[in-house]
Symmetry: C2
Subunit: 353 residues, 2 copies
């Protein structure tokens, strides 16, 4: 039997939603017989009051937190760990929460900060936020585990997470479509830059790799280990990996960069070595960030519907907080992406324009 909500208890006991809430909050205010009926229904349904239900009893804060997992602890030295997508996502969440009269709290979470977890869960237990949107790379992220164990209202953004509400891009389809496009327009040795953080591959990248493998197979192209290249999510990494690639005797004719920032480093390295784009090597990014139309040559990229995903994640979190969506009714949506073709894959040979 799955997790029950207080709505299930109310239905079972034949009372209103509010009466169940009152029993949880102020049992002394409820007539004894009614209370006993409700308590029996709770036992029958193996109901455990969750924080989602508790938030119905407390005054809601009308605040949510966006918590970003960042690889390493920032600020040891004078550094600042930048996450490429964090700024855009925060701007989108601030816009959407404000439209709905909600306040947005921004937190970063570093695995190597011993107090990091308790500071974040403190936000919920002190009722400073009603729920959390988690931006994590790995399914074993301790924050997700803790939120699940404590039954905090949360939604995962950008990571396909079994058993949790989540909003994800169709990563497999995105890369499948890009590889199919490259193969159909003449590429034969397509290099896959697989992004890693802290040296680990992520479920998101595993999905992308599946799209790469399946599209190659469909196109009758071999899956070559030497064309699968690790990198992190920076331009530096894209630049370095590309220079190494160019030192090999057997150069690829296309590169799928892990994201647009990595692609900027790829384009730079190819330019530094005098390799024509798209004439000799074609390049595809991921994210379609605002600068991509202005690289030299302009960058073909993959665009996800960020604002639509943000709206879905926020709406889902509000449903969880308000108790109208229980853990048996998972909201897990995959959002399709779109390939935006520009000059870096132009197949006409007009090259650098």
């Amino acid at each position: 039997m799955g997790q029950m909500t207080i709505k299930d208890v109310a239905r079972r006991a034949g009372v209103s939603f509010q009466t169940v809430s009152l029993v949880l909050n102020h049992p002394e205010k409820v007539a004894r017989t009614t209370r006993e009926t409700i308590e029996a229904a709770m036992r029958d349904l193996e109901f455990v009051p969750s924080l989602a239900a508790r938030s119905l009893r407390k005054k809601p804060s009308r605040s949510i937190a966006c918590v970003f997992a960042v690889g390493a602890r920032p600020g040891d030295a004078d550094g600042l760990v930048q996450r490429a997508d964090e700024g855009l996502l925060l701007q989108a969440f601030a816009t959407v929460t404000d439209q709905h009269g909600y306040t947005l709290i921004h937190r970063r979470w570093c695995r190597d900060d011993p107090d990091g977890l308790s500071r974040i869960t403190g936000l919920v237990s002190e009722a400073r936020v009603d729920g959390i949107v988690v931006f994590a790379d790995q399914r074993d992220d301790p924050l997700i585990g803790l939120l699940q164990a404590k039954r905090f209202p949360f939604v995962v953004f950008g990571l396909d997470m079994p058993g949790a509400h989540c909003a994800v891009r169709a990563e497999r389809d995105a890369i499948y479509e890009a590889v199919r496009y490259l193969a159909r327009t003449g590429s034969r040795s397509i290099c896959f830059f697989k992004g890693e953080r802290d040296g680990r591959r992520t479920p998101t990248v595993a999905e992308r790799f599946r799209g790469y493998r399946e599209a190659l197979a469909e196109a009758g192209l071999p899956l070559r280990d030497d064309l699968v290249v690790p990198c992190d999510w920076t331009s530096e990494s894209g630049h370095r990996a590309t220079l190494r690639l160019l030192d090999r005797p057997d150069r690829p004719d296309a590169i799928l960069a892990a994201d647009d920032r990595v692609a900027f480093g790829v384009l730079k390295a190819l330019h530094d070595r005098g390799v024509r784009v798209p004439g000799a090597i074609r390049v595809v990014g991921f994210d379609n960030c605002v600068q991509s139309a202005f690289t030299i040559p302009s960058l073909t990229s993959i665009e996800g519907p960020t604002l639509e995903m943000v709206r879905f994640a926020f709406a889902t979190l509000v449903e969880v907080v308000e108790g109208t969506r229980g853990p048996d009714d998972l909201a897990q949506r995959q959002f399709p992406t779109r390939l935006v073709v520009r000059d870096s894959t132009g197949s006409t040979g007009r090259a650098q324009l």
Copy 2:
């Protein structure tokens, strides 16, 4: 006589800081004679209890809000107004506030949103935040006026604001140094892209223009109206303005772009028209964003100490909130910038490398 703090009142009345706070909060708990002495001191000093002082009486929220003025209301259609610097600044503030056990709230403020102001000031009046960091372009921003009138604790970031605590870059010196460098290394017709938002020039850009004018005069170069070009803060705008510039018979030999994103559009337009950088035209950006080392050619830019400014703004706001810094003791610091020279101004003629 300037604004008095409760510390001034305490000194005048010869009592402790805490006793004044108690009179403001729970006058019934203070002996009548003591209370009357303190009330007399308040009258003598024309003391008005401010929210800063109130926050000493209330349980502090240990939260601050970063509020960004965005030009137009986002989300009418399906759009999202992006501010180039917002992501980096939020990441820096999240890091610094977290290090100090503070919670960061992120808000955007649009002039054409009728409820925008009250939603932001509601954060303070409901004691959800102790103070606000304001990111605004114009000194007449209604948010700043309201915060001043209500004596809310706030610090302005990035705008030199008379009468308010603020953290600013030395914008005049930054451009002065860049123009002097260009003039000394051979540029004679240096174009100044003056950034505007909503068609208005900002005090920040006025400061930059002063640096431009003074450096030209020092170098014996004329100030030419035709070399002062309006643009907004996007790559599109930089691209468009540069194409128009190239249609003129009398081309400049250097361009100071309003920021790096504008410079990306400038580089793209020059490349599209086959103009060599730095051989024919040299280009300088502003902000030194992470992509600038990977443009083609790599971009000379101006770097401000963002994290240092964020730390200063946060520390100042905490002082204001805690009542240890009053309005007579303004914290206004200008932070020096640094010119990062790369290939887009390389004077050796190695050109595109």
